[in-house]
């Protein structure tokens, strides 16, 4: 049966088919759906970990116990897990272990565009690079075999375009499967390698180098036999080395060229590529982001005519970008579809941009409205989540944001270095459990006078509502232990803790000001209100604007709600449009009502 699966759904299916028994992940776009889908298969255990390093450590333990296992994360999540990953290369694995790194060329939903194929090179383990959902499904099983054969961790690298595109996959309906307990643990005897103390690390290093040579030999023969690496011979005027999603663009733009398609971007079958290069007149490399393959070929003395000189280093590749590069190098002469941009109607309007915004009813709104009113004497260190939109108009209430959990440490450092303004860190509930606990401990210990606003919306919201330790519901829908954030904070020794209703503007203002004055270590504001996409959020009667009372002062626009729009009615005194509320969008959260100085906003009376 052929069905359409996203790359992420296909990875989950492939993992299940290949007998993965345990998988762990922290949600992160574009990787999130891998574990969500895997969790639905029978006979397996799938969990949300509190962060990516925990997820990988979970997988390592499962592997050492003998299970086939998988850890999934977005590209920047691998940075969090890298401490374990780099040494896992030395310890090796027992049960096959695949780390799925979902990279985000184009930074659609990320803070950078790092190319995680580089991890494979620096960690000296293989990197698989599928080009569609069917390959993603198939490669998981082969990656697990390689992992076990060579006792190595393996990265399966996806990208946003692969993870979130759907293509046809051949599949059967999964049969029932019982969860199998692991066999009795076999303690290592003799040459222990899973306890990676210095003496063992020194002994292991040359073995790792040899392992890499062995895997490279495998990519030169077995990988071709299994069709993971393959050559598609056509016209020999042009030969292209490519991998991943770039292969799809190459096939369409340069349909007559011969292609060496790599399913493994590290290590490379260099002699096979050298032989391919010798048989074509011109060799080019088409790859997304870094010149990862190109640099390896050049270092091996393989003549590469074009690569990153004609294809962009930054951003996601597209058909248009591959076409532009091929045109520039004279490889094609078809400039592509004619787009009529001239001779357009004279009154072509400017199309207003549509930036993302906090949803109507969002529990972060009143906090950022209040923060914006108090930002004159404060710096705001933000964190990763929906609340990073606090930087956008109309709030513009965020001064720094860099990575998961960094808000607290940055506010701390700013203050301890002599910062004159109040230092406020804003961090979500899931992010707090991910990497907020350690920096809070550090701030308490060092008596840093900072404000930590924990915006607890009872879910991991940005990635699409995943559970976490603060919700007490597990990935597979079971009841876990819910961790009480206030109790944790108190136990750490924080002396100022105030819980605030997320939609109470007055209380928010009072509590924030009190916290900013606190001078005995960190002051914690626990802002509580459920995300509108959770069942805990309750819609209230909708708001409407009384046009008699509205004086078009614009106060309600400063709450940044998509439901508040300009009406057709102009207030003559300032010649500005009065406000209106879109009944299709309003959730009745009342934040706009609370900030209206003329009491013009109230419950809709129909």
């Amino acid at each position: 049966m052929k069905i359409l699966l996203s790359g992420n759904e296909a990875i989950a299916l492939g993992a299940w088919e290949a007998g993965v028994q345990y998988a762990s992940a922290y949600p992160g776009t574009p990787s999130t759906e891998i574990l969500e889908n895997f969790a639905r298969y029978p006979g397996i255990k799938a969990e949300w970990a509190s962060n990516e390093k925990v997820a990988l450590d979970n997988a390592i333990g499962a592997s050492f116990g003998g299970a086939r296992t998988l850890a999934a994360m977005k590209h920047v999540g691998v940075n969090v897990a890298a401490d374990s990953l780099m040494s896992l290369s030395y310890t090796g694995v027992k049960g096959g272990l695949v780390l799925v790194s979902a990279d985000d060329p184009g930074a659609f939903s990320s803070q950078n565009e790092q190319d995680n194929r580089q991890y494979a090179r620096s960690g000296k383990f293989p990197c698989f690079d599928p080009a569609d959902s069917e390959e993603a499904r198939r490669f998981v099983g082969i990656a697990l075999e390689v992992s076990e054969t060579f006792q190595t961790p393996v990265i399966l690298r996806s990208t946003t375009r692969l993870s979130h595109s759907k293509s046809a996959v051949e599949t059967t309906i999964p049969e029932e499967r019982e969860f199998r307990p692991l066999p009795k643990f076999e303690r290592e005897t003799g040459g222990v390698q899973r306890v990676i103390i210095p003496a063992i690390a020194r002994r292991r290093h040359p073995e790792i180098e040899q392992r890499l040579r062995d895997v490279a030999a495998w990519t030169a023969d077995q990988a071709f036999e299994k069709g993971i690496n393959r050559i598609e011979w056509k016209n020999k005027t042009l030969g292209i080395v490519t991998s991943g999603i770039a292969y799809q663009y190459v096939c369409e733009i340069l349909p007559d060229a011969s292609i060496l398609k790599l399913g493994i971007s590290y290590p490379l079958p260099l002699e096979n590529i050298r032989a391919f290069a010798a048989q074509v007149e011109t060799l080019i490399v088409v790859e997304e982001l870094d010149p990862f393959i190109e640099d390896q070929l050049k270092a091996a003395g393989i003549p590469v005519a074009h690569g990153k000189d004609i294809f962009p280093l930054c951003g996601e590749l597209t058909l248009a970008k591959v076409r532009a590069g091929a045109l520039q190098a004279g490889l094609i002469d078809d400039s592509g579809p004619a787009v009529i941009l001239d001779a357009r109607p004279e009154d072509v309007p400017i199309i207003p941009s549509r930036p993302p915004a906090l949803c109507p009813g969002c529990p972060h709104r009143a906090f950022f409205y209040t923060m914006a009113r108090n930002k004159r004497n404060a710096i705001i260190a933000g964190d990763i989540g929906c609340y990073s939109m606090g930087v956008l108009a109309p709030f513009e209430a965020m001064d720094m944001l860099i990575s998961m959990g960094a808000s607290i440490g940055m506010a701390h450092g700013f203050k301890q270095a002599g910062g004159q303004e109040a230092a406020v860190a804003t961090i979500g509930d899931s992010t707090f459990f991910h990497s907020g606990l350690a920096p809070l401990a550090s701030a308490v210990y060092n008596r840093a006078n900072i404000v930590v606003a924990i915006l607890d919306n009872r879910i991991t919201a940005m990635t699409g509502q995943q559970q976490h330790p603060g919700t007490g519901v597990t990935l597979q829908g079971e009841t876990g232990q819910e961790i009480d954030i206030a109790a944790v904070v108190r136990a750490m020794g924080v002396t100022f803790i105030e819980e605030v209703d997320a939609w109470d503007v007055n209380k928010m203002n009072k509590s924030l000001r009190a916290a900013m004055k606190h001078q005995d270590g960190p002051a914690v504001l626990l802002v509580r209100g459920a995300c509108v996409f959770t069942p805990h959020f309750h819609r209230q009667p909708q708001m409407q604007v009384d046009l008699e009372k509205c004086v078009a002062c614009g106060s309600c626009f400063r709450v940044g709600c998509p439901a508040i729009i300009k009406s057709e009615v102009i207030y003559p005194t300032n010649n500005k449009p009065k406000s209106a509320i879109d009944p299709l969008l309003c959730t009745g959260c009342t934040v706009c009502m609370q900030v209206c100085p003329t009491n013009a906003i109230g419950e809709a009376n129909d």
């Binding site: 069905i3 549509r354 940005m462």
Partner: protein
């Protein structure tokens, strides 16, 4: 019989654009063609622009279309149709839902949401045919405002040389069973309206 088709579904996060494009891609597969679809989830979905590419062919390579090659643009919102209309191939067609969702750049900022007349004139300049659908009121008429995407798909199905039953079957397979009837009604209503 269709050999090759590029569709571009656009709208605003939360309108059901992704579900509609899922269904359209599956229809391609059920018609015996290869099909792919592509979109980006995450940050942009919070009230931002949503675009989803659907391609049918004997063999589909890239999951995304190239600008200037889209056969039919299906827009769930007026402004978004104008934003994406240059992706149409010459003599491509537009199906547009007559719904306005004012972006924050216009409600809070100084940007101006153009009038419907101006937006339609831009669409008509680029497209060989522009079909304006009152999808929201038709969906309400069908019994559930959330059937907007079924109304849009019904309209699309009348522009293509395909069996409407294939569309209806895929839609019913996709929606929860308690909404099957209302979606059946919406599909029939959408088809009838666009044939008028």
């Amino acid at each position: 019989m269709i050999e090759k088709l590029n569709l571009l579904f656009v709208g605003v996060g939360g309108q059901g654009v992704l579900t509609a494009s899922d269904i359209a891609a599956q229809v391609g597969l059920d018609l015996g063609l290869d099909a792919k679809k592509s979109e980006v989830h995450g940050f942009a979905q919070r009230g931002g622009v949503v675009e989803s590419h659907v391609r049918w062919a004997r063999h589909v390579g890239s999951p995304t279309c190239e600008r200037g090659t889209v056969d039919i643009l299906i827009s769930f919102e007026l402004l978004e149709a104008a934003r994406w209309v240059e992706w149409l191939r010459p003599s491509g067609m537009v199906i547009v839902n007559r719904q306005k969702i004012i972006p924050m750049s216009a409600s809070v900022g100084d940007a101006v949401y153009p009038t419907e007349d101006v937006l339609l004139s831009v669409l008509e300049y680029h497209a060989s045919k522009v079909i304006v659908v009152d999808a929201l009121s038709l969906a309400a008429q069908a019994g559930n405002p959330r059937t907007v995407n079924t109304i849009m798909l019904a309209t699309l199905s009348t522009l293509l040389d395909t069996d409407p039953m294939v569309w209806e079957t895929v839609i019913l397979r996709r929606v929860p069973s308690k909404y099957a009837d209302v979606n059946k009604v919406a599909f029939a209503l959408g088809q009838r309206e666009s044939r008028r």
